[in-house]
């Protein structure tokens, strides 16, 4: 049973903590899907792998406990067998890698944010100890929110070993529609809870999910704005993720695919750095000193360069 119980009694977690140890620079290797986000690990750093596998899955509680080294694909197939899914991005890689980077699913409007889905984190600290933050229930305000802090921290505060994630039922119906010449902002306004509204400056792609009758009704709403065609999925996505305020995508030029309502934009070139303000960086620097004073965890990577 992986949901509760002392971490010290979990042989796989203890072995990972021992491997991380307390000395020398160390970095986690997953599938290298997001290897250079926030900077690459320094050359020659000792590499470790987090435990993998689903250690507990309770579909009726809508929670799953999974090793950080598990691939997103493997987790997704386990969840699908019970008609469920989670907020991890479909792009692949490992569970721990996606959480460490804090990458949202393209359907974030429908699936919810990744950060809200991480209920509990179990990680190895800079001194090789197993630490737990958060809790196994879907609702919990017990103490300080370590799961939120670890999500998107690029493994610079602790190395994720295992997480408990919230799962959700797979909607009964799902369809992707392309609407050429539609005003994507009008489409976003007219629809209730679309899972994604994508725009490349000319065409709009809409992902509708839910009960079959609702999906059909929403498709009819969209077809009143512009002619629609059913398509297999989103358009080909450029490789680099940009994070913009949603209103800023109105002014984009060049080649892009933008997610209306979220501000995620995919482009051919990387986004320029957008550092947080000085006071936030001050807190972040103190956070790093508190959690990893010698800077041994994932050296070379910096969440502020993400």
């Amino acid at each position: 049973m992986g949901l509760t119980g002392a971490l010290a009694e979990r042989r796989d977690l203890v072995a990972f903590a021992d491997e991380v140890g307390a000395d020398g620079p160390v970095a986690v290797e997953g599938s290298r899907t997001r290897w250079s986000v926030g900077g690459e690990p320094i050359p020659g750093v000792r590499l470790v792998r987090a435990p993998s596998g689903v250690s507990a899955y309770l579909p009726e509680e809508m929670v799953v406990c999974v090793g950080a080294g598990t691939t997103v694909a493997e987790l997704s197939s386990v969840l699908a067998s019970s008609g469920q899914r989670c907020a991890l991005p479909a792009r692949g890689g490992t569970v721990g890698g996606a959480i460490a980077v804090g990458e949202q699913h393209l359907d974030v409007l429908g699936r919810g944010t990744l950060r809200a889905s991480v209920l509990e984190v179990r990680y190895v600290s800079c001194d090789g100890r197993l630490v737990r933050g958060g809790g196994p229930t879907v609702k919990n305000v017990t103490g300080y929110d370590l799961p939120r802090l670890m999500t998107g921290a690029l493994g610079t505060l602790g190395l994720l070993a295992e997480v408990i994630l919230r799962t959700n039922p797979v909607p009964a119906a799902s369809t992707w529609l392309r609407a050429d010449g539609a005003d994507p902002f009008a489409a976003f306004d007219a629809l209730l809870h679309p899972s994604a509204v994508l725009w490349d400056g000319a065409s709009t792609w809409v992902h509708l999910e839910g009960h079959p009758g609702d999906v059909a009704a929403q498709a009819a709403v969209l077809s009143r704005i512009a002619a629609t065609t059913e398509v297999d999925g989103p358009p080909p996505l450029p490789p680099h993720r940009w994070s913009l305020e949603p209103s800023a995508i109105r002014g984009l030029t060049g080649r892009y695919v933008a997610s209306v309502g979220t501000g995620l934009v995919l482009r051919d070139e990387p986004q320029p750095l957008r550092p947080p303000d000085a006071a936030s960086l001050g807190v972040a620097a103190r956070m790093k000193r508190e959690f990893d004073p010698t800077g041994r965890l994932n050296p070379g990577r910096d969440p502020a360069r993400r």
């Binding site: 600290s125 103490g143 807190v283 993400r306």
Partner: protein, 492 residues
């Protein structure tokens, strides 16, 4: 829980505070600094059972810059600062310990223009939760977290407590609805945490700050997510002859793949009290009632409402009723949300608990809760956010009876132990405050707590923000002063 001896607040503001008060007056103006005993007494406590601490000078800043100036003045004098919203917290989080400067955000109530592209709006921390939803509703939106105190509690308080409410089952608690904040850090610096963009650069300090119970700084501007109003809503009331059947219905609904907007259970004692109080139309003969709501588009809500009704009948519901119209729906919810006003008819005092258990363990833990109350000779009522597994056992008593508070606390401790043993957590939405500090080590190891302490220290290295809260004795900023406890009214 050990009850400490009563700490008496000082009368008047001592001479040594004169210089501090002068600087506070310079920061916010003389009419916005109060040092009189009446004002300080008013802010000694919150809606928890704890009898209160000791407030130092009380400030009412009107702008973010004034908050910053107050924090800096307090810091120059080595004084802690405690932010204050509406004081509806139930865990003692807003109680001032050690005569800190109390910063009331009550005068910061402006609401910005809704950013329709981002589905977000910037608000000041003193905005009342329900006022925000009333402001948004004609624009087609609402603020999803809806704690039962929503008529008075503030957005700043919601942020500090990561507040929940019945409709957080489908929509998530406050953390999922806060995109960005401007925060005055304990050192007086102003930081922008988070952003309206989907993947802000840097650590997620926004996420770490929400639920910090005022110990990480003061949010002075908050960008909250606005949620579109659902075009279709269906509300069901199912009656059961056993509490266990109602609890089992809740876990069967979730297991069937339906996530309703809300699922609330009330037992017979509370149902009768509410019915006497507001006449909500609840059945008086049922051992428990389940109030379930689904919202969204017409097809899905009809499908889900039918499915919930079928599951309830399969689990032994004696009656399932669909609210016929908005008026009946509003009445059913009025009953639920005023449940605690109704309690005063039954006993002079009550203590509300807040734990979470896995939904599949609800029925078992509820039976234990009734047995625990019996064992300690107390009356217990249950009204709770069943869909989240969030229990709210309410112990009723008369505090004038000798030894009564000790029994109440002993029963509370047993309820917490039963919840943890079932794989649950200490608090679902009320927070830790001063109420549950002593239980933190029942859920976390010393290493876990040490890391929580590190998170806090990174924001507040000098223990300048709301000291004496959340972490148990022995951690930095935890040891400051004990409180006594007494009972009074509350929301749940």
């Amino acid at each position: 829980m050990r009850l400490a001896s009563r700490t008496r607040p000082r009368r008047g503001v001592p001479e040594r505070d004169a210089a501090l008060v002068r600087e506070l007056v310079a920061a916010v103006g003389a009419p916005n600094v109060r040092t009189d005993d009446a004002q300080r007494a008013l802010l000694r406590r919150d809606a928890s059972v704890f009898d209160g601490g000791d407030a130092g000078p009380v400030c009412f800043p009107r702008t973010a810059e004034e908050v910053q100036a107050v924090v800096r003045a307090a810091r120059r004098h080595g004084r802690a600062v405690v932010p204050r919203g509406a004081g509806t917290g139930l865990a003692g989080g807003a109680i001032p310990l050690g005569a800190p400067v109390v910063v009331s955000l009550a005068r910061m109530t402006s609401i910005g223009e809704v950013d329709r592209d981002a589905r977000a709006v910037w608000v000041e921390p003193g905005v009342v939760n329900l006022d925000l939803t009333r402001h948004l509703r004609p624009l087609g939106f609402h603020f999803a977290p809806d704690p039962s105190s929503q008529q008075v509690c503030t957005i700043g308080g919601n942020v500090a407590n990561n507040s929940g409410g019945p409709h957080c089952l489908a929509y998530g608690v406050t953390n999922a609805h806060v995109l960005a904040m401007d925060v005055v850090l304990p050192d007086g610096e102003m930081a922008r945490l988070g952003g309206l963009d989907p993947e802000p650069s840097g650590l997620d300090l926004r996420g770490a700050f929400v639920g910090g119970e005022g110990t990480l700084g003061i949010a002075v501007r908050i960008a909250v997510r606005v949620t579109p109003n659902p075009p279709a809503v269906r509300t069901l009331l199912a009656s059961f002859s056993q509490v266990r059947d109602a609890a089992n219905t809740v876990s069967a609904v979730i297991a069937s793949g339906i996530v309703p907007a809300a699922m609330e259970v009330m037992d017979q004692r509370i149902t009768r009290a509410v019915e006497n109080y507001v006449g909500a139309g609840y059945p008086l003969d049922a051992a428990a009632v389940l109030l379930a709501e689904v919202d969204g588009l017409p097809d899905g809500t009809a499908h889900d409402a039918d499915a919930i009704a079928r599951i309830a009948r399969e689990q032994g519901a004696t009656e399932v009723r669909l609210a016929a119209d908005d008026r009946e729906r509003a009445l059913l919810w009025k009953g639920r949300k005023t449940a605690f006003g109704a309690i005063a008819q039954i006993a002079p005092d009550y203590y509300l608990h807040d734990t979470v258990v896995p939904r599949s363990r609800l029925a078992d833990v509820l039976e234990q809760v009734y047995a625990i109350a019996d064992r300690h000779g107390l009356m217990v009522m249950n009204v709770f956010h069943a869909g989240d597994g969030n229990l709210h056992p309410l112990l009723l008593f008369d505090a004038r009876e000798p030894g009564m508070l000790d029994r109440v606390h002993a029963a509370g401790a047993d309820i917490i132990e039963a919840s943890l043993a079932a794989g649950g957590v200490l608090s679902g939405e009320h927070g830790i405050g001063v109420e549950k500090q002593a239980y933190m080590d029942r859920m976390f190891t010393p290493d876990d707590l040490d890391h929580q302490n590190r998170l806090r220290r990174a924001f507040d290295p000098e223990c300048a923000a709301n000291p004496g809260k959340v972490l148990p004795t022995g951690h930095s900023c935890a040891d400051i002063q004990q409180l006594s406890s007494a009972a009074r009214g509350l929301w749940v």
